[in-house]
Symmetry: C2
Subunit: 206 residues, 2 copies
Amino acid sequence: MRKVSESTVRRLSLYLRFLEQSLVHGLTTISSGDLARRGGTTSAQVRKDLSSFGSFGKRGLGYSVPQLATRIRDILGLGRAYRVVLVGAGKIGGALVHYEGFRQRGFQIGAIYDRDPKKVGSRWNGVVVRDVKRLEADLTKEPSDIAIVTTPAESAQAVVDALVAAGVPAILNFAPVPLDVPAGVFLKHVNMALELEALSYALANR
Amino acid sequence: MRKVSESTVRRLSLYLRFLEQSLVHGLTTISSGDLARRGGTTSAQVRKDLSSFGSFGKRGLGYSVPQLATRIRDILGLGRAYRVVLVGAGKIGGALVHYEGFRQRGFQIGAIYDRDPKKVGSRWNGVVVRDVKRLEADLTKEPSDIAIVTTPAESAQAVVDALVAAGVPAILNFAPVPLDVPAGVFLKHVNMALELEALSYALANR
DNA sequence: TTCTGTGAATAGGTTCACAGCT
DNA sequence: AGCTGTGAACCTATTCACAGAA
């Protein structure tokens, strides 16, 4: 397996969604051109993306929908469930807890943490909110694969430090602040204000 | 001004954040190296990014913090307020309505739309939720620069079609579905499941 | 001396184009 | 004929390295 770019991984996720839809519609075979149209790219790109991982298609025919879906799910590591902890029981945290798309894909929110004593003890979508003080101790007993950080900017780095200390290998950050993690820990940001600013730039310079 | 990449625009937003913080801390001058450290990039990258728009620095010294902040705000088109409409008064929509980061940057949510009669008429952070049927008519009277779509996947394309028909030039989509817009309309996606899948890939292939 | 601004070099990602299966 | 798989060409973005201003 050769080195694969971030963009390729993103596109694989999109292909997988389309494959799953196609499966529901009873399609058995699909061409790179079909996948391209839906993923907003070109057929050559689709084939290149897939070829990094092997040859899954049949020349003259295309790809088997269920086979390719399984293969991509495998590549993306979606063949298993992930235990996710969420730190920060605010508005965004609440939205994420109730977001069905996560659970559907095997991302199970197993614990929620907050600093606010008024929130601690309440139930969010069946999960009890715990005091963030327990975060490190809990993670030692119940290791998590992924943490989602939805705290205010000020607390985010401290939370991330605790997560890293407790051995959490992957973090998705919604706090609008750049964070430091040691090498070997995977960190991704979702920054909604940034996206709006990109639109603002586009509008200002059209 | 030469052509500027998406990544450059994203980095400019990050530089701006750091500049604003530095301003609060009373700094008057900053070097490309300082900006780089905070933006997770290199000093050469920072200088290249800025040089697409002009020469704002002083050799041997660096950049004036307030001047550069103003200049970037200008470049990004943040010198003005934007009227934003939000379509989809669900959990994510609710989180966005209350997100202070938007208003701080001049993105003002002026109207919220939903299909659910139970939600229509209620107040969200001071804004009354309207029936989505009124969307096009309202937009004709009160044009908006940006729309944020947080509907379920099924309704997103229809909503976007209405937005485009009503002349909205920029759309930020949170629905987990690819959308079609005509050329000239700016469309950006925020796909949280996709980000988790990128982490899943990283974990599976480390 | 310090730090910017920028051409030149390098690396990385995308598209082309075509040989080779089915 | 249709569609994949892939080297080669192309294009875009990042890094290097250095001349020049403060």
